[in-house]
Subunit: 249 residues, 2 copies
């Protein structure tokens, strides 16, 4: 009998046409497609364990999923085998064997999300799928100043969507970098963990600052209010991409 | 009775879901959508005159279309009015009044096309819609050397798809710039006019050079052969975007 191996997959996906990562009965999800591709490959019903459950319409370049198999296949070749089964908007970029007790959510990780904004008078149709079109002129310096108040450990209740089941709303943000290249604005947020819609509410609030509806220093008050209604709107999902997960192997 | 005005539209579009620019009975085309949006706005049946008829699946950031109307509307507001009617993958970026004899194809213009290549081991699903995935390692210096043979005026029969109805295959290329930024390779081709599939066949040939199947100096022989079968394959449409049209007003 073959040994059981635990396989780690690094998964990239265009989330546009999916009801998010997490498998849901009767809905098209990234995890559901992965489970069914692995089942086709190995012949065994599988439910992967994953690092991050991105929302409907959100993209990912490096989500992590693990599963166990006793199939006799070189672990590094599993990516190619799965890609031949998966739809083209989901790509396994890497597959490797990890320790049998490896669990992608039970490790201290740092995640980086990027939120993209298309900031010009008219939307660029080649960007609408992967960015939020904002026609208002945005003051990037003020947005950076506002972002400064969010760094470090805080109770982020004001930046958490209703429906969160998290036991605590205390999270820590390591960095928020805002870059502008012509009409393209990127907001890169790195932290140890994020609440439901947190990066999208941060983005909506920073855009309110950028267009002058909120002063940068008000973000401190919004944070301290611990009240979702005080922050800006939730930016739409298509601008958000999970860029990177760093963790100790 | 209102004066008739000639209106110029600058049009951007994601060509993924269209049978190209040119209106065709019973097929979804960019021009067809434009004609019908203008008809809804003005109440008059319209056929725009356009600068460039891009192929099925090819994108555009600045195609030009003109039409005549005696509608009483500020010309600069027509873009916004049309955008409220058009599907979201077609955007009129600008509308303005031009001389009554303005014709976008009867002027000396210079066009720039960009061909995008995603060059890594696995395709990035956020790029597949707008780039050609090529996993072979490409030698950019050799590609640049090969491109040098294509500059200037030549008979480009080797780089023209069968089915061309052009009276002459002599065209002039002003510049070919190849840039690489991580896995992203851009080939920017500027010239006075292009034959059917010309930029895509040039790209296919340059990729053959980059991966070592053709030596750079062979491109000179391919050009002189005036024989389509000597050049490389036709790169797929989704990587190509009409970036810019320059013309004398």
């Amino acid at each position: 009998m073959a040994d059981t191996k635990r396989i780690l997959l690094v998964v990239a996906y265009d989330g546009s046409d999916y009801h998010g990562w997490q498998a849901q009965e009767g809905k098209k999800t990234i995890e559901g497609e992965l489970n069914s591709a692995i089942e086709k490959l190995t012949g065994n019903k599988t439910e992967v364990i994953s690092a991050s459950r991105t929302d409907a319409g959100v993209h990912g370049l490096c989500n992590l999923a693990v599963f166990d198999t006793d199939m006799n296949i070189e672990p590094s070749n599993i990516s190619r085998a799965l890609n031949s089964i998966l739809p083209s908007d989901i790509v396994v970029r890497r597959s490797l064997e990890v320790d049998a007790d490896f669990h992608p959510r039970k490790r201290k990780t740092s995640k980086t999300y990027r939120y993209k904004i298309d900031n010009e008078s008219y939307p660029d149709p080649l960007k609408t799928r992967y960015a939020w079109f904002v026609s208002y002129e945005l003051d990037i310096d003020k947005m950076r100043q506002a972002a400064g108040y969010l760094l470090g450990e805080h109770d982020f209740s004001s930046f958490c969507a209703a429906g969160s089941t998290a036991q605590t709303h205390v999270r820590s943000i390591d960095s928020i970098e805002i870059t502008k290249n012509g009409p393209d604005i990127c907001i890169d947020v790195t932290g140890g963990g994020f609440l439901y819609n947190m990066v999208r509410i941060i983005t909506g609030t920073l855009v309110d600052v950028g267009r002058g509806r909120i002063e940068p220093e008000n973000v401190k008050d919004i944070l301290e209010a611990r009240d979702r209604t005080k922050a800006g709107l939730t930016a739409p999902p298509q601008g958000l991409t999970l860029m990177n997960i760093e963790w100790d192997m």
